[in-house]
Symmetry: D2
Subunit: 336 residues, 4 copies
């Protein structure tokens, strides 16, 4: 932590801050610049920097160590590669997660999974719990939906990715899913993150609508600090002033995160844009920018979907997209 003093503060004022820091267990080193004196403080316990910042003589307090450690590339230089059966996140192989927004029936899943697995998709997604803005909308099939997912995934040699909403669902879901998905609204549900830190399956952590990249990495740290190092990050759009798209998909988060962290990062172009005709361009953009994969909504009959049909691809649209991505991947030295 660096404490920048206001220009022209007296020696007495500087010593007051030094003493305060020492009380809190810090070693304090004073260095005087032309304009500002800067006090470096190391070794103390975690404190709220605003407390120091409110002191009359202090101009600014700067934290120099990032809030996350396990998730940081400074901590681990090589990319984390998460292996799930014959699939992976973070290696040279690009991961594709596809499937309907919500599990609606066994038939629905069968139809779509067959098509997806033929393309070569290894991860089947589908929501079983769908708390909705309207209390009258379809709320998901619950555990029944997870059973369908497991059954169909096994049949087609796929892996299951599904969203968890509450701590109480962990042990039940462990029987059905291969990857736990944490949605954007739960990105800072710290109790849930902590519990997922004790689970021995990978967690797909979605960025919150108004979360900074730094906050996303801190949430990953929460999971990792419990022992579970298999965290897959997911960019899915942030809220900005632009209303032409539901959210603004922050594609630049990919190279930024690649520099800051060793964890895999994928992109959700379906929620990121909210409209089917934007999904293919943004999927291509994601892979071209270096994303380790995408998670995309595909529905056998989007017009009849019980949830988010407007952002779901038709199976044939997905097939075309899949082939385009197959061509882009080698340009970055990767495969699909």
């Amino acid at each position: 932590m660096l404490i920048v003093m206001k220009p022209g503060v007296s020696e007495v004022e500087i010593q007051k801050v030094v003493s305060l820091l020492e009380t809190k267990g810090f070693d304090a080193h004073v260095s005087k610049g032309e304009i500002n004196t800067v006090i470096g403080a190391v070794g103390g316990k975690v404190i709220d920097k605003r407390g120091i910042e409110l002191l009359e003589s202090v101009q600014e307090v700067i934290k120099i160590t990032s809030s996350y450690k396990l998730a940081s590339r400074a901590f681990q230089r090589e990319d984390t590669i998460i292996k799930i059966g014959n699939a992976q996140f973070g290696g040279t192989e690009i991961a594709i997660i596809a499937g309907p927004c919500a599990v609606e029936s066994l038939e629905q899943l069968e139809i779509i999974a067959e098509k997806l697995s033929k393309c070569g998709v290894k991860f089947l997604r589908g929501g079983a719990f769908k708390p909705r803005t309207s209390p009258y909308a379809f709320q998901g099939l619950g555990e029944e939906g997870l059973k369908y997912l497991r059954h169909v995934a096994d049949k087609y040699n796929m892996y299951v990715v599904s969203e968890i909403m509450e701590i109480s669902q962990i042990s039940m879901m462990l029987k059905y899913v291969d990857v736990f998905q944490v949605g954007a609204r739960n990105m800072q549900n710290f109790n849930l993150l902590k519990e997922l830190g004790y689970v021995n399956k990978p967690v797909l952590l979605k960025r919150g609508l108004s979360a900074t990249i730094d906050e996303l990495l801190m949430s990953a740290e929460y999971i990792m600090s419990g022992g579970n190092r298999d965290v897959i990050l997911c960019e899915r759009g942030i809220r900005t002033f632009e209303t032409a798209t539901r959210n603004t998909l922050d594609i630049s988060a990919i190279p930024v995160i690649k520099k800051l962290s060793h964890l895999p990062i994928i992109v959700d172009p379906s929620h990121g844009t909210g409209l089917r005709d934007k999904v293919a361009p943004m999927s291509r953009a994601a892979i071209a920018a270096g994303s380790d994969g995408i998670t995309v909504e595909v529905h056998g009959c989007p017009d009849e979907a019980l949830c988010d049909g407007a952002q779901s691809l038709y199976p044939n649209q997905f097939e075309i997209l899949f082939n385009e991505l197959k061509c882009i991947a080698p340009i970055l030295g990767r495969s699909l």
Copy 2:
């Protein structure tokens, strides 16, 4: 719902949209303008407007009924006044909620409650559950903290406001609190909102960091649709590009909400700014703009606070502020 067709679309294309709408249970009325044909659709079930918007011939789909009804001033013209003992939210009397960020001990609460009640504060606040960004920080006293709150509030004739984190805490908390607070991160935890709709105590609903006013009112609707009409809204700052303050306190949300809804609206200047020296100016601004109250953090010894001390007022600062607000209130025909 209004469907605006693209300029120059053919009669056949218009009829296709009309037929589709009728399939979904709508009555469709076509009216032709100079440039665009507009189809009015009434009576159908709730549908995702994006599905229509994706049609080749459609330019735009506009929803004309707001998503909330019970919370709307169109539904109830007079202000909702929520009475709690001899206090109220939404009437001419301005409500002040004050107390520490977190309950730390019985002694801490005694000291602060005595001072607050002497001023005339009727609502005592304090957090019992504090999931924190860092897993190593103080996590709250839990039920013990609520007992302290109840005990001290009763002693000083005050009412208890405390935050609920999960559905499982409802029945336990009912014994201790007079107002359930729902935090910004839970504003769209629809399962929790739904359950609070069955409770017979008021709910203080905080606006999410990136929630629009419209979304805040939809969340209020969620609670109200369960039967609990006593919802108090709370503006507490939104995330913007400006980093000089932790959040940007949206004071204009007060007159906007007053026009759209009959529900009381208060302001949290402590979380809204994150810094003690901004709390008094923003509290005065809130009351001057027509807020029905404020909720403010006050601590007997902010420098020793276990949580958010930097945004907590010293007791004497609070006293000065309270007196300022007492002078502002009558200018708007209110009292404190």
Copy 3:
């Protein structure tokens, strides 16, 4: 324009609004829905919709015709292709504009132009006027810089793109440039836009830092309404809460604009991210998402650049990027 009345308004109140609209020259058609009555208004002069919205009986006023017309795809279905010598914007050939942020000397330009033209780049960029945040920083070479640009571009069979700052520079610049660039800060300098509407050279119009896509298209309309239809749009990042990148490059603006308008759209990944190591990923993303080109800063010796060296590519980095883009283009049926 559609005027949505509040639920339950009387016939008298509806007639008042109808009369008011007729006074302003509109034809008004009333249609009654279950909850809201909607008044369609066509044919009147341009009015400020807020004036109607403030009426007590009115819930909302919705404009249904977009503010731009010439720039709209509804007005012209086929893509606009802007031809400049043997190059183009908006056709199947992707356009690459490259060069230093600022023209520094004839030598500097020679070195970089030689390398760029060898790659196959057809457009040479460079700023001659550089008003800077600090009054002490390099302010550009002015007309001298434009002469260098013209001279070097002619030598290597390239075209010149350079930024105009003020109306007074138009006639002078006409002698040197092939494309006028309008910077983000001037996107709503309507006087300048209007004058560029009378010029017979294409205009590259950059999106403002906080401009919506709709506002960008309105600014294009301003130029086009003067007669100059050759407008090239440019996405260069918007300001959001995320501070990890200088701006958030809105890649989804590409498919959105492609749907709304027939004008070419390119991307500036240098200003969009502000950091050299993000330029290549975002350039690939742009082309993969369907951009008609990119404008990118390349400098023979970025570490010595007088302006924005940190976001300029080294020549060899550019060469690698150029080859990557060459591989991506055919996947979208295009060439480079």
Copy 4:
């Protein structure tokens, strides 16, 4: 400037950075912390910190001196008070600027000025140049409008505030105005700011739609560095994701700026909200938060206004507001 090195970098890498800094004229001091080594650099010339940040061994570069100096409270502890005749900005007296958005005619100005001066308003505002989004809308009366303003202001002992659009208008406007207003879109028109630094009349500088407080102060610095120290800052709303108001008026900018700078700060609630019925609440909020004044649009007949009538107050609304502000001022030890 502080250069934070990545954890675990070698001594050689540290020395490389030190050498580089010395090349650029800096004195470099290395101090080693538990995790990161920090290099303090003083005395060098202005450089782009991103250049250092891109070095492989560097984690982050932090500027510790603010970009502005003359505008900073560190430079001048006492509030700047700008006196104009018998009026002032920044002292105990609160300044009210009022008048129509645009000057439309001599009669219009006479009517409104008479009412305003009776209230006690000392500053008359009105736009003479109105570049508009639509090329067909009213564009202002130009110099004729300024003559009217001067004439009417003299008659009623008022001072003239009017917006300047371009450098070429300075000498002409000097004859008519008492305060030059720089609009939000010109806040970073550095050439204009520089010229206004040589003028001997105060400048009212409006915050840009997406400008940070830091950038606003840097723009003030631009003017002040030319010699003109009489800069009045003006908050007028920033662009956020919330669309219920045209902009989000950032009331917290008032206490923030009061701490950072000695310059007066006022608020424009008319542009800040865009709707008449929000103007009074936000004006009261501004004064209650410590604003040195407001600039507000008032029109004798807003429904007939040629520009922004929807955000203009009726004269009687203004009178009520003025009296409310008169009551709020003394609570903060001020007068009106």
